[in-house]
C-alpha cells in the first residue's frame, strides 16, 4: 500500500513537472564547498526563475567522479527532461551519453569544459583570451624589454595549454622578454619551488604570470623569501578568495576572474533558445574580468 502511494506521489510530481519545461544542469562537483560551482548553480537557478522554467542541478558527490556523472545524466535522460547543460568531468567518457540524449531529441550544451561531440555548443571561458588580458595588464605596467616568466599549469590539459599560450603570445607581442616558461602543475608548493629556481637563474625578473592563483601564491612566497616582492609583479588566474586577500594585502598584483554565474545563466538560456528552434553560436564566451587592488574586495 505504502509503495503504491509513494509511486503515485512520484508519478504526480513528474507529471506536474511536465507542465513547465525542465532543464538539467550537470556540474563536475557539488556547489557546497566549491564557490565556483556554487556560482554556476546560482546563475542557472536565477535564469530558470526569470524564464519560468524548472532547473534541476546534479553533480557527482565527489568532484570529477566520472562514473557517477554518467549515471546521473543517463537517469535524467530516461526521465525525459527538456535539455541538458553539462560540465563534463571527462569529455570522452561523457560523449556517448551526450550522443544518446541528442538522439532522443534532447538538446545539450557544454558549460565550463568543452566536450568532444560535434555540433554541440560550448558556453564557457575563453582561457586564451583571459590569459591575454593578464598579459596586457603586465605589458601596460612594466617597462618594455623587462624580464618575465610564465608558470604553466598541467600542459597536458587544454586549460593549461590555452592559458600558457595566451600569456606567451600576449607577453611576447608587446615586447616583454620571456626568460622562463615552466610547468608547476596548478600546485602551490610547486609554484614556490619553480619560482625559486627561476629566480636563481634570472635575478632581474620583473613580472610573473601564473596560470592559476595557487601557483601565483606560491610565487609570492618565493619572492617574499628573496625580498624581491616589491620589485616583481605577480599576476594569477581564477581570482579565488585567497588570491583576492593577497591582492588586497598588496602581495599579489592582479588576477583574472572567470564568470561562473554566466556559465549557469547562459547555459539555461541557450537551452531555452534551442528548444524554441533558434540556433546559438558554437562558442559563447562567458567573459573574463581583470581583478586588481581596485576591485579585489568583491572577490574576498
Amino acid at each position: 500500500m505504502k509503495r503504491v502511494l509513494l509511486a503515485g506521489i512520484a508519478l504526480g510530481a513528474m507529471t506536474m513537472g511536465a507542465h513547465a519545461q525542465t532543464f538539467v544542469l550537470g556540474m563536475k562537483g557539488p556547489g557546497a564547498g566549491n564557490p565556483f560551482w556554487a556560482a554556476v548553480e546560482a546563475g542557472a537557478k536565477a535564469a530558470g526563475e526569470e524564464h519560468g522554467v524548472e532547473v534541476i542541478v546534479v553533480a557527482p558527490p565527489q568532484e570529477s567522479d566520472v562514473q557517477a556523472q554518467i549515471n546521473q545524466i543517463e537517469d535524467l535522460i530516461a526521465q525525459g527532461v527538456d535539455g541538458i547543460a553539462l560540465a563534463p568531468t571527462d569529455p570522452n567518457a561523457l560523449a556517448p551519453v551526450v550522443d544518446s540524449a541528442i538522439a532522443q531529441g534532447i538538446p545539450v550544451v557544454f558549460v565550463d569544459t568543452r566536450g568532444t561531440n560535434e555540433g554541440v555548443s560550448f558556453i564557457g571561458t575563453n582561457n586564451q583570451v583571459g590569459a591575454a588580458l593578464a598579459a596586457q595588464y603586465m605589458c601596460d605596467n612594466l617597462p618594455e624589454g623587462a624580464d618575465v616568466a610564465i608558470l604553466q599549469g598541467l600542459i597536458s590539459q587544454s586549460t593549461g595549454q590555452q592559458r600558457a599560450q595566451g600569456a606567451h603570445d600576449g607577453l611576447g607581442e608587446c615586447g616583454l622578454n620571456i626568460v622562463a616558461e615552466q610547468p608547476a602543475n596548478w600546485d602551490r608548493a610547486m609554484g614556490l619551488s619553480v619560482t625559486e629556481t627561476i629566480l636563481a637563474g634570472n635575478p632581474n625578473i620583473a613580472g610573473i604570470f601564473a596560470s592559476n592563483d595557487n601557483m601565483a601564491l606560491g610565487a609570492v612566497e618565493a619572492l617574499k623569501q628573496a625580498a624581491m616582492l616589491d620589485d616583481v609583479m605577480v599576476v594569477g588566474f581564477d581570482a579565488n578568495p585567497d588570491a583576492a586577500n593577497s591582492i588586497v594585502a598588496g602581495d599579489m598584483t592582479a588576477s583574472i576572474a572567470q564568470a561562473p554565474d554566466n556559465m549557469g545563466r547562459f547555459g539555461i538560456e541557450s537551452l531555452i533558445a534551442l528548444t524554441n528552434g533558434e540556433t546559438i553560436e558554437e562558442w559563447v564566451d562567458t567573459g573574463t574580468v581583470l581583478v586588481d587592488a581596485s576591485n579585489a574586495a568583491e572577490y574576498q
Binding site: 562537483g29 557546497a32 564547498g33 566549491n34 564557490p35 568532484e63 600542459i155 622562463a180 615552466q182 610547468p183 602543475n185 600546485d187 602551490r188 608548493a189 614556490l192 619551488s193 619553480v194 625559486e196 629556481t197 629566480l199 636563481a200 637563474g201 595557487n214 601564491l217 606560491g218 612566497e221 623569501q225 628573496a226 625580498a227 585567497d242 586577500n245
Partner: protein, 327 residues
C-alpha cells in the same frame, strides 16, 4: 683489476655519495653561473626537506620489508588540520604539535590495523588509509586550501640563517636542521639501540626474530608510527613554507619517497639500507630535478629521466652486490 677489500668496503658504504658528487659536477658544468650560486644550493636544500623527512619514515618501514602508501595523504591531513588549528587561533605551541600528532595517529591506525586485523600485507592497510585519510583531508576543508598561518608555526618551514655571509635568499634553511636532527636521531635509534637492531632483524627474517623473542607486532606498530610522525613533521615544514594547508598536498609523494629510499640502496625485501643512503637518494632526485629545471628541460622529459634513474640506480646496486658475492 686489482681487488682491494678496503676499496670494496668503501664503495659499499659511500659509493652513493660518489654518485651525488658526479651529478653535482655534471650539473655545475652545464650551468656554472647558476648551479653553484648560494641561492640555488639553498633552493635544493629547502625544496627537498619535506621529501627527506617522509623518505626517512618510509625507510624505517621498508627495512621491515613493509611499505607505507599513506604518507602523502597523512602529510596533507597534517597540513590542513594544523592550518585549521592556526585559523581557530590556538596558541602556536599547540598548533606546532598538531601536525606531528595527526601523523602519529594515522601511523597508529596503520600499525594496529596491520597487526590486529592480520592483513596479509601492509600494502593493503596503507592503500586503505591512503584513500581514507585523503578523503578526510578533503572533508575537513571542503576541498579548499586554508591559508595564513602564525609566523611561529611557519618558522621551521620558512626561516633560514644567512650567518652574515650569504645574501638573501641564501643561507642555511631551518628545515635542513630539522632533517639533520631527525636523520641523526634515526641513525642512532637504528644502529645503537636494541629496538633498532630488532627492526633490521624483522626485515631480514620475521620468523627468526619472533622465535628469538622479539615483539614483532609491537615493533611494527612503532615503525608505522615513526613513518606517520615523519609525514606529519614534513607537513609542518611544507605548510610553513607555503603559508597554507591545502588538501591536494603530497599527491604521489609516497612514490617519490619510495624511489628515494630504493635509489639510496635499501632493499625492498627488508633488512638492508642506511640513513645516509636515504639522504643521498633524496639528494639524487632533488639534484636531477634542479639540474633539469635550470637547463629548462621540459617536465615530461624529467619524468622519463627520473624513471630511468630509478631503474639504473637499483641495477648498479644489483651488479655491485653480485660482484661482491662472487669474490
Amino acid at each position: 683489476m686489482l681487488y682491494s677489500p678496503k676499496l670494496s668496503k668503501f664503495l659499499e658504504s659511500y659509493g652513493i655519495i660518489l654518485v651525488v658528487i658526479v651529478m653535482m659536477v655534471v650539473i655545475a658544468l652545464s650551468r656554472p653561473e647558476v648551479f653553484l650560486t648560494p641561492q640555488n644550493l639553498t633552493n635544493i636544500l629547502k625544496q627537498n626537506a619535506t621529501l627527506a623527512l617522509v623518505a626517512l619514515g618510509m625507510f624505517v618501514v621498508i627495512v621491515t620489508a613493509g611499505i607505507d602508501l599513506s604518507v602523502g595523504s597523512t602529510m596533507a591531513l597534517s597540513m590542513v588540520t594544523l592550518a585549521l588549528a592556526s585559523r581557530m587561533g590556538l596558541p602556536w605551541p599547540v598548533v606546532l604539535l598538531v601536525g606531528p600528532l595527526v601523523g602519529i595517529a594515522v601511523g597508529l591506525v596503520n600499525g594496529i590495523g596491520l597487526t590486529w586485523l592480520k592483513l596479509p600485507h601492509p600494502f593493503i592497510m596503507t592503500l586503505g588509509t591512503l584513500n581514507a585519510v585523503r578523503g578526510i583531508a578533503y572533508l575537513v576543508t571542503n576541498g579548499a586550501p586554508i591559508s595564513g598561518l602564525q609566523p611561529e608555526v611557519r618558522y621551521l618551514g620558512q626561516a633560514y640563517y644567512d650567518l652574515g655571509i650569504f645574501a638573501p635568499p641564501a643561507g642555511i634553511p631551518a628545515s635542513l636542521i630539522v632533517v639533520a636532527v631527525c636523520a641523526i636521531g634515526l641513525w642512532f635509534f637504528l644502529e645503537k639501540t636494541s629496538t633498532g637492531r630488532h627492526i633490521y632483524a624483522i626485515g631480514g627474517n620475521p620468523q627468526a626474530a619472533r622465535v628469538s623473542g622479539v615483539n614483532v607486532d609491537g615493533i611494527l606498530v612503532l615503525v608505522y608510527v615513526i613513518a606517520g610522525f615523519m609525514a606529519g613533521l614534513g607537513g609542518l615544514l611544507l605548510a610553513g613554507r607555503t603559508d597554507s594547508g591545502f588538501p591536494n598536498a603530497g599527491l604521489m609523494l609516497e612514490l617519490d619517497a619510495i624511489a628515494a629510499v630504493i635509489i639510496g640502496g635499501a632493499s625492498f625485501f627488508g633488512g638492508r639500507g642506511t640513513v645516509l643512503g636515504v639522504l643521498a637518494g633524496v639528494l639524487i632526485m632533488g639534484l636531477l630535478r634542479n639540474g633539469l629545471n635550470i637547463n629548462n628541460v621540459s617536465s615530461f622529459w624529467q619524468m622519463v629521466l627520473i624513471g630511468i634513474v630509478i631503474i639504473f640506480a637499483v641495477w648498479i646496486d644489483v651488479i655491485r652486490r653480485r660482484a661482491a658475492v662472487r669474490r
